[in-house]
Amino acid sequence: MDYSTIGFKAGIEIHQRLDVGSKLFCNCPCAVGEEKPKSVLRRRLRAVPGELGIVDPAAAFEVAKGKTYVYETFRGSSCNVEEDEEPPLELNQKALDAALQVCNALNASVLDEVHVMRKTVADGSAVSAFQRTALVGVNGSLKTSKGNVAIETVCLEEESAGIVAREEKETTYRLDRLGVPLVEIATAPSLKDPEHVKEAAEAIGLLLRSSEHVRRGIGTIRQDLNVSIEGGTRVEIKGAQQLEDLPFLVENEVLRQQNLLAISAELKKRGFKRVAFGKPHGVSHIFAKAKPFLSDQLKQGKMAMAIKLLFCKALLGREIMPAHRFGTELADYAKSKGVKGIIHCDEDPAKYGLTENDFLEVSTELDCIEDDGWAVVVADESVALSALRAVFDRAFSEALPKETRRAEGRISRFMRPLPGAARMYPETDVLPVVVGQSRVAKAGKLESFEERKAGLLQKGLNEELAEKILRSPDARLFEQLSVSKVPLKTVAWLVTDVKQALKREGFEQLRLEEALKLLEQEKITKAAVQDLLRLGANETGVSLEKLAEAGNLSRIKGEQLKQLAASVQGGFGEIMKRYRFQVEPRELSAMLGKEGGRGGLSAKGERFPPGA
């Protein structure tokens, strides 16, 4: 597809968790998911005033009926601040410095005074019902293969509470995640195509990884996308975690908007005219004979209710992106009102244990003719009504609705309508911070990917290994360990191949630094490293050196090796066969060469780890 001809607009927001010792506004450590909750809090949220400060009493009634939010609290990683029981402390200055570093790396101008704001959040993911956020830098730029991409803003903000369970009447969140510092980087909506979106996201990700202040691992970086096309609308897709999914998410969103536009055009062609939402019909008698998952609900007093969807026959079943039909889209709207899904005319009745005749009966009940379709929900009457209303409004909305969608692999699902301009007001409990030029300069600049790669090439790594290292989550670890006298290639092998292999085997506590030290001191051989790390992971209380001695993994070298070589018949091959974990082949081969023995690296052509 030629994206330059369809009015394609896309931008990304990258949210990266910081690793700066404590949370953004309290002294709790950022230990997410590391402990079991100590207790729970149960809270309800009030309706906050609309844009003009006016609370609609009817809407407030709805909220008052609404959900309970359950918050899990933690001994080690949440306190009164997260619980909305104490005012925030001052802004975490290390987090601010980390954000300044990001600004510098992106050539963004740092604002002279940083003001912390309250951004209202209504889904319970912030106990106070607002998220604290501050704009730190503006007007940056990012170099890409398709030209410079403008970085509109760099913000510092609080992570929301982690969701544990979402049920009809209550949602449970965990507070260990709430308040973890995040840096948010937003590009202008000027990315040129799906691959360009991925490239920009990857470039920002790699840049962030060069900071020692960012967290690593699953969930620590999140990408939100903004996508629109000509005639379509702006849609925000939240929570993409895999870089590889980004181009597909973008492609599928373009596809979705194009297909929805085609459906609108088809409706017009069929002669659709706007009608008011009519009273739904009860069709419980038809669904009483459906499979138990439906009929049991009816026995419990729920109702099956139907509405006619004018001219929608055969459109509901139309696929608008992979494995996602127009009917699925409407069902997601219905689900947001508390039903489990919808049943529509373009489905196979057998799925519900019903027949074509039963479906026809629904059509007859609703006076459907020719192109008319229908949707049915099973729920309590009031829930059913609001769900059907949502289906109707969505099916016949004048234009494509502006939505916030949730990434689910490579497609996205409706989450909620896109909020208007973010409602923000100052966090009056936190003073503004003046950021002078000297502080900005002192924060330093992150090295770009290219700069870091050049550095590694200079140190003697080849191109392939340098890129492998820099793209691995352990690039920082490599840099920390590469101060040792052990050759860089060995360090690289250790933090990539060895670490990954042992992780796959399930070993987590790897004492890499200690092993490297033993290599440096020539107390072990490279061949012994993996076995020794395995032993070390199991015996955490004992030094690797002791474990090497006990496990016959200590290196035999110098005089000792000479004696060994003298005592073993069969030369290099035999010695290496018997002592391959304890003897460095290079030393042995040099020794045997000098002593007049057989040279060569390995008699049997055995492969040894790369390195000296």
Binding site: L41, R42, R43, R44, L45, R46, A47, V48, P49, L52, G53, I54, V55, P57, A60, F61, A64, T68, N80, E83, D84, E85, E86, P87, S109, V110, L111, D112, E113, V114, H115, M117, R118, K119, T120, A122, V127, S128, A129, F130, T133, A134, L135, V138, N139, T153, C155, A421, A422, R423, M424, Y425, P426, T428, L431, P432, V433, V434
Partner: protein
């Protein structure tokens, strides 16, 4: 703190005032937004604060800045006023003062203001319409609770009495939380012949946020006002959850935490009742005063020259001398432990207290420990103090004792009469049977 002279001059030149749309061009870029006033603390005088269209506030240095006023300005937002009058025919009166429960944030300028009208508090709690009709709304003054004094209690007591003698089922008083328990004690003494429930209510979280706790407090207060209790009680969150409120007897309650929702705890007794926002009530007391047909009298006399004094290790007795020389008529001493003051050290308070009592000052002792009673006879030091004529207030909270002494002194000059009044149990200020479970409730 306002903007610096330099910025003021730039703004004058651009003819821009807070609320106006402004364009600021400086070396960092071009920024457009609404000019905001400077907050009182923090930041630099030399930064202009703009609210950008994205909603973010930013501070922009005025160095090398060009300012241009643009079309348009942001007016203060409208806030809803709404009074619940639905089909419910039970009437409740509201007397609003000030405090967190009646603040609001202007979302455009970010300033924190007192609500213009008490009706705006009610707009935050539309469910009140299901409980009662707020038939009368009074707001005799608007003050933060730390700024209130006995004159305010007097005004409040008269206002509440008027409402109680009308057709209301009960009265809700909204109030800042810092000194809410002083006011609840004052109303307990001043409302003579109390005939209906009076709920004193505040909020620990401001109404601008979705987590506003005052809404539940108000709902539960409304339910309390429909109960059969003729008591002044604070009605505030009972736990950190949004589950139920505690109605605590006005003389036996204290703010025990600076910030949490359930900061108001009963001291030396149990709460009067647990009240749920759906109207469920569970009274934990049996012997509370019941609603009656009588008329209440606002008995508001109060002696201004009353003080609360706290001895501590090394504290000088000159504190007492100061009050005596300033012609104070009553002192509550927060005695340490069972009710001590320094007695045998170089800084013994005994001579100064003896002089005070000689000069006709009423001196009473209340527990600095808050929990438990002071006792006049256990130790020799105590006997020294009580033999001078100091009045031992048992388990009465120091704040309650202060209010009570001021109120008693408003009624009589006679030391013996004062003693009698201080030792009489007017409003449950004494609990003569304290039990283990009354500690840290």
């Amino acid at each position: 703190m306002a903007y610096s002279e330099k910025i003021e001059a730039l703004l004058r030149k651009a003819k821009a005032q807070p609320g106006d749309r402004l364009k600021v061009e400086n070396p960092k870029g071009v920024f457009e937004g609404v000019l905001l006033p400077r907050p009182e603390t923090g930041g630099s005088h030399d930064c202009i604060i703009l609210k950008l269209d994205s909603g973010y506030n930013v501070g922009l240095s005025c160095a090398k800045a060009k300012l241009k006023k643009l079309e348009g300005s942001a007016a203060l937002e409208q806030f809803a006023s709404w009074v619940p009058h639905l089909a419910v025919n039970k009437k409740i009166s509201l007397v609003a003062t000030g405090g967190t429960i009646s603040t609001r944030v202007d979302y455009k300028t970010g300033g924190v203001y007192m609500l213009l009208e008490p009706e705006q508090i009610l707009a935050k709690v539309p469910e009140l319409a299901n409980v009662a009709s707020i038939s009368s709304i009074k707001s005799p003054f608007r003050k933060a609770s730390e700024d209130m004094g006995f004159q305010d209690w007097q005004v409040l007591a008269k206002e509440v009495a008027k409402e109680l003698n009308g057709d209301a089922e009960g009265v809700i008083v909204t109030h800042g939380t810092d000194t809410l328990h002083y006011t609840s004690a004052a109303l307990s003494f001043m409302l003579k012949g109390l005939n209906k429930p009076v709920a004193v209510v505040g909020a620990q979280r401001s109404p601008d946020r979705g987590s506003f706790d005052g809404a539940q407090n108000l709902l539960c207060a409304a339910h309390y006002c429909l109960s059969d209790a003729a008591e002044v009680a604070t009605v505030m969150h009972g736990t950190s959850n949004d589950d139920y409120c505690l109605a605590n007897i006005g003389t036996k309650v204290r703010k025990m935490h600076t910030s949490i929702r359930d900061a108001f705890r009963p001291v030396n007794c149990q709460s009067l009742a647990r009240i749920w926002p759906d109207g469920k009530k569970e009274f934990l007391w049996k012997d509370y005063n019941k609603r009656s047909d009588g008329k209440v009298v606002a008995d508001v006399k109060f002696e201004q020259k009353t003080a609360l004094v706290k001895p501590y290790p090394g504290a000088s007795p000159e504190i007492i001398d100061f009050y005596v020389d300033k012609k104070y008529r009553g002192l509550i001493i927060e005695g340490t432990g069972l009710g001590h003051v320094p007695t045998c050290s170089e800084v013994s308070w005994i001579p100064s207290i003896a002089r005070a009592i000689e000069k006709g000052v009423s001196v009473a002792v209340a527990p600095q420990c808050l929990y438990g009673k002071v006792h006049p006879h256990v130790y020799a030091n105590l006997r020294a103090l009580s033999s001078l004529g100091a009045i031992y207030c048992g388990d009465m909270l120091p704040e309650t004792a202060y209010v009570k002494l001021g109120w008693a002194l408003g009624h009589t000059n006679k030391p013996e009469k004062i003693r009698q009044m201080m030792l009489k149990n007017y409003a449950h200020e004494f609990n003569n049977r304290i039990q283990q479970e009354d500690f840290l409730v």
